[in-house]
Amino acid sequence: MEIKVKYFGSIAEETGKAEETISLQNGISEVQEFIAFIFKKYGLSDEGTVQIAVNQVIQSEGRIQYGDEVAFLPPYAGG
């Protein structure tokens, strides 16, 4: 199953890319598992301040499905 993943701000800097498509294996379809997978893949720091949006809605649990857009968001800085 293919997932579109987007990275922003300091996270995009750490991953070295703004987006990619990831093919999920069996067993990594829960949001928390997917976060752990990406953090490990890129050796990301600062997990405590990262938020995840699934299809543009902030989410910290639930399942990731085929075709979802998952975004990794560092702390907001608007204003």
């Binding site: 922003f8 701000g9 301040t49 949006a53 543009q56 975004a71 968001l73 907001y76 800085a77 204003g79």
Partner: protein
């Protein structure tokens, strides 16, 4: 296609005083308005570890940010006596002294305009995915964090 009813939020670079004047002028035909409240965020020359910020480079998860701002506007219209509400934020580089955020609310009476403006401001700071890189004079940088949010999560 979900975005088709959201209003344009992002402006490339700084928001000019002329844009603000044009927005004010365009409300002079709405004679039911008695009060406008405007908030402007201006990039501050903060001193961090002996280095001075010279600009902020803004980026955003644009589609989500537009949806969030659409929700913030809808909530403000349902909570306050409000005739109009406009929200603009910069993308890209904004130098110190320039405006990066422009919130403009209008109402028959001052309470509606003022309360809505402040409510929208807090919501923009805490729930809209906008990111900022504070650029220092020596070309180094740090990522800006709206402290409230970080604190709320920890």
């Amino acid at each position: 296609m979900n975005n088709k009813k959201t209003k344009k939020v992002f402006v490339q670079g700084a928001i000019s005083p002329e844009k603000i004047a044009d927005s004010i002028a365009s409300h002079q035909s709405k004679t039911e308005i008695g009060a406008h409240s405007i908030f402007l965020g201006q990039v501050r020359a903060d001193l961090v570890d002996g280095k001075t910020v010279k600009a902020i480079d803004y980026s955003a998860y644009e589609e989500m940010a537009e949806k969030e701002i659409h929700k913030i506007r809808e909530a403000a219209f349902s909570k306050f006596e409000l005739t109009c509400a406009h929200i603009y934020h910069s993308l890209g580089k904004v130098s110190t002294g320039q405006v990066c955020l422009f919130i403009f609310t209008s109402s028959p009476h001052r309470k509606g305009a003022n309360d809505a403006c402040q409510n929208i401001l807090e919501a923009v700071k805490t729930s809209v995915p906008i990111f900022g890189k504070e650029l220092f004079e020596d070309e180094s940088y740090q990522w800006k964090k709206n402290e409230d949010i970080v604190r709320n999560r920890t």
